[in-house]
């Protein structure tokens, strides 16, 4: 694995290896001394063209626990409005000796350009690009499901997972569909038709417009953040109607099988896609997701930066 750009690029073996490695990383985090010497002397740059404190500090914690040097480079706004191009920024970081670039960018495909154009020689980790993908989010989701529903080993064969909400604008949904399919789970997307991209018939998943009908068969339900402003572009009539039809509330919580878990990539819009009852219920594993994020990102950095050394 040279870069981590898309979960569509991950084979079944790659994906399971990432999860197994994350499990090993998680084990080290139970020790009194959490820091590992593995990436000592290596430099990881967090290149964030979009605000995302959660994702950035998760990557930062992961890199630091592997003893890497971390440089945070925040370049908010598009390359054009900032005046410096992505190319120049990347080449500057290359000149400073970045071994890995963790990039968050509002433009879909920006990490692919970074990896393909030779603007940096380091490994490129996609930390969310536009409405395209967010691979480490999907990995931490899969890791969380594996721990809660599959005994913490192997893949997710036989599980049924719903991804509910604004699929159209969601990089989390795209990464999850690919990865969950690779790991053997069946996926159903649930959203108003306006928020399902045209062309999803080619995706390895089902699509439903009826959340109540889907809930009783699920092992996990993943609620996506919905921005209230979407109603201004007529994606749905009002926040109240969205919440009534697609929000996870106490009644819908009761439709889930007893073992099923409730997930959310955060930050949550309480009262819109998820009610306080659902968010704070015992089935909600939202904070586990956050904690697992560090383990999964440690695994990704380890496999990208130290993995090559292991081969030789």
């Amino acid at each position: 694995m040279r870069h981590l750009l898309s979960t569509a690029d991950l084979s079944h073996a790659d994906a399971v290896n990432l999860l197994d490695t994350a499990e090993q990383m998680a084990a080290t985090q139970q020790r009194e001394i959490k820091k590992l010497p593995t990436l000592r002397g290596r430099t990881v740059v967090n290149l964030f063209f979009e605000d995302s404190t959660r994702t950035r500090i998760s990557f930062e914690a992961a890199a630091k626990r592997l003893s890497a040097d971390v440089i945070n480079f925040s370049a908010k706004g598009s390359s054009v409005s900032k005046g410096e191009s992505l190319k120049d920024t990347a080449e500057t970081l290359q000149a400073m000796g970045a071994d890995a670039v963790v990039i968050r960018h509002p433009a879909s495909g920006a990490p692919h350009r970074l990896a393909a154009m030779g603007w940096t020689r380091g490994a490129v980790l996609n930390a969310g690009d536009g409405t395209h993908e967010h691979p480490t989010q999907a990995l931490l989701d899969a890791f969380t499901m594996r721990r809660h529903l599959a005994g913490g080993t192997g893949d997710l064969t036989g599980l049924r997972v719903a991804v509910v909400g604004d699929v159209l604008h969601s990089r989390v949904a795209r990464s999850n569909v690919h990865l969950l399919h690779t790991l053997g789970a069946s996926v159903v997307l649930v959203a108003p038709p306006t928020l399902v991209p045209l062309g999803t018939q080619a995706w390895p998943c089902e699509v439903s417009y009826d959340l109540d009908a889907v809930l009783p068969q699920l092992d996990a339900v993943m609620m996506l953040r919905v921005q209230g402003e979407r109603m201004n572009a007529s994606f749905f009539p009002s926040e109240r109607e969205y919440s009534r039809r697609y929000g996870l509330d106490a009644r819908r919580l009761g439709l889930l099988p007893d073992h099923a878990i409730v997930m959310h990539p955060g930050p949550m819009n309480r009262g819109l896609e998820i009610s306080a009852d659902a968010a704070d219920s015992a089935r909600a594993v939202v904070l586990d997701q956050v904690a697992n994020g560090v383990s999964v990102r440690m695994a990704a950095l380890y496999l990208l930066l130290a993995g090559e050394g292991n081969d030789s």
């Binding site: 992505l86 509002p106 433009a107 495909g109 154009m117």
Partner: protein
């Protein structure tokens, strides 16, 4: 002026012939090897296809305003290298070509450069803003003699404004060339909407945004009795609408670009902005429908939509990149590959789609234009605009080796089957042995 004897050419109808170009006109057409060589510069054209000088109905020359992307000189040099003897320069310059002054400037720059005739396209609306008509009559009666009007890059989306424009240009036999794109349906659009855009997370440009405008415009044109031309049709649905309109006898013409005849949206999976263009690359089914439409005449014209950009406009992430591709120097070879070599179109068809039809739509075929008329074919007495094309000379596209200032060819690294060997404008070679010949250069062949 020198006399040229083009020895052993293959005419568009397939017959072998000698062509004699003298005094700016086609002076003689004889059987191969029969024309007299005395006093003439002889070009050994055995095996080369002779086409009437190509006419591009859709070229962005960028001057005035974006000379960093292209100038009239570099753009027309590229046109000559691609076998063109006339190009229609689109109006989206800075300032916009919406006054007689700007179109006359562009026309004059073309004459000075001398590579090919430049026919400026006038903007339909002031500043391409889509709110009120530009002074179309002033542009029509200027020395630039504008006949084609377009807000290309923008759609004349207001139906009332479009109706008025269609009506108004009848007074001087003009035509409105519509960039068919519903603006509301394509806000923020980055690529064709469908399976690929869903995976890539790029905002979709739905086919219906093009088709709905074309349907409206052919009905409007019929209603007011005006002709309308549709720029760069890109979808199977657009083809169906144009075909139906023509079956009803409506006065519509349409063009397709070489890149829409060869490339599909699959290219976008690389996120390489060299494939970012408007309208976007579509599906393989659309490509096939376009090829069939060109072959059966539903699409009248191949037009390049040559759109050079400076390197930095493409050397970035997809969303930040400019839309457009260069195309003048690859057009004929791509047409050969997609239509001639596939058996869908013969060279006479190529001459129609790339010379006589665009010239007729732009009213360049008027004999009153004398030597500045185009698209009149390879007939004795017609202006000596001739393109010699070698259909058996494969080459690999290298943007750095092209005449255009733009490096944004989507065919970089493609192997194309044929190349332009020579271009004659009013009997003077602008390109010989595949190389451009500046105005002041002596003809580079021995007699």
């Amino acid at each position: 002026m020198s006399t040229f004897l083009l020895r052993g050419v293959r005419l568009p109808d397939g017959t072998a012939a000698d062509l004699v170009l003298a005094d700016g006109v086609v002076a003689e057409i004889t059987g191969a090897g029969r024309a007299s060589t005395s006093g003439a510069a002889v070009v050994d054209a055995d095996g080369l296809v002779a086409l009437p000088g190509l006419v591009d109905l859709h070229t962005h020359l960028r001057e005035p305003g974006r000379e960093d992307a292209e100038t009239v000189e570099s753009g027309t040099r590229a046109a000559a290298a691609g076998g063109f003897t006339a190009v229609h320069a689109m109006a989206n310059t800075s300032p916009v070509a919406d006054t007689a002054g700007v179109v006359e400037q562009v026309y004059r720059l073309g004459q000075q450069a001398g590579w090919c005739d430049v026919r400026p396209v006038g903007a339909v609306t002031v500043g391409l803003q889509g709110s009120r008509l530009a002074e179309l009559g002033a542009m029509a009666t200027s020395t630039a003699r504008v006949r084609v009007f377009s807000d290309d890059g923008h759609c004349v989306s207001d139906p009332v404004l479009m109706r008025r424009a269609l009506e108004y240009v009848k007074a001087f036999d003009g035509v409105v060339a519509q960039h068919a794109q519903d603006p509301r349906l394509t806000e923020g659009a980055q690529m064709n909407e469908g399976e690929v855009s869903a995976v890539l997370g790029l905002t979709g440009w739905p086919a219906v945004a093009e088709e709905a405008v074309i349907a409206r415009d052919v009905l409007l044109a019929a209603h007011v009795g005006s002709r309308v031309h549709v720029c760069h049709v890109s979808t199977a649905g657009s083809v169906e609408i144009v075909r139906l309109a023509k079956q009803r006898g409506l006065p519509v013409t349409a063009e397709a670009t070489p890149h829409h005849l060869l490339l599909t949206e699959e290219e976008v999976r690389s996120y390489d902005p060299v494939y970012k263009v408007n309208p976007p690359l579509r599906t393989a089914a659309d490509v096939q429908a376009l090829r069939e439409a060109v072959a059966d005449g539903t699409v009248d014209v191949i037009a390049t939509d040559h759109a050079p950009h400076p390197t930095e406009a493409k050397d970035c992430e997809w969303a930040a990149a400019a839309m457009g591709m260069t195309g003048l120097e690859t057009a004929l070879a791509v047409v050969q590959q997609t239509l001639v070599d596939t058996g869908m179109l013969d060279w006479a068809g190529v001459a129609s789609r790339m010379s006589s039809a665009p010239a007729r739509i732009g009213r360049l075929d008027d004999p009153a234009l004398g030597g500045f008329a185009h698209g009149r074919g390879l007939v004795v007495g017609a202006p000596a605009h001739v393109t010699l094309h070698d259909p058996a000379a494969p080459w690999t596209v290298d943007p750095a080796a092209q005449q255009t200032s733009g490096r944004n060819t989507p065919f970089r690294g493609h192997r194309l089957p044929g190349r332009v060997v020579a271009t004659f404008l009013r009997g003077r070679p602008t390109v010989l042995d595949g190389r451009p010949l500046p105005l002041d250069a002596a003809p580079g062949v021995s007699t």
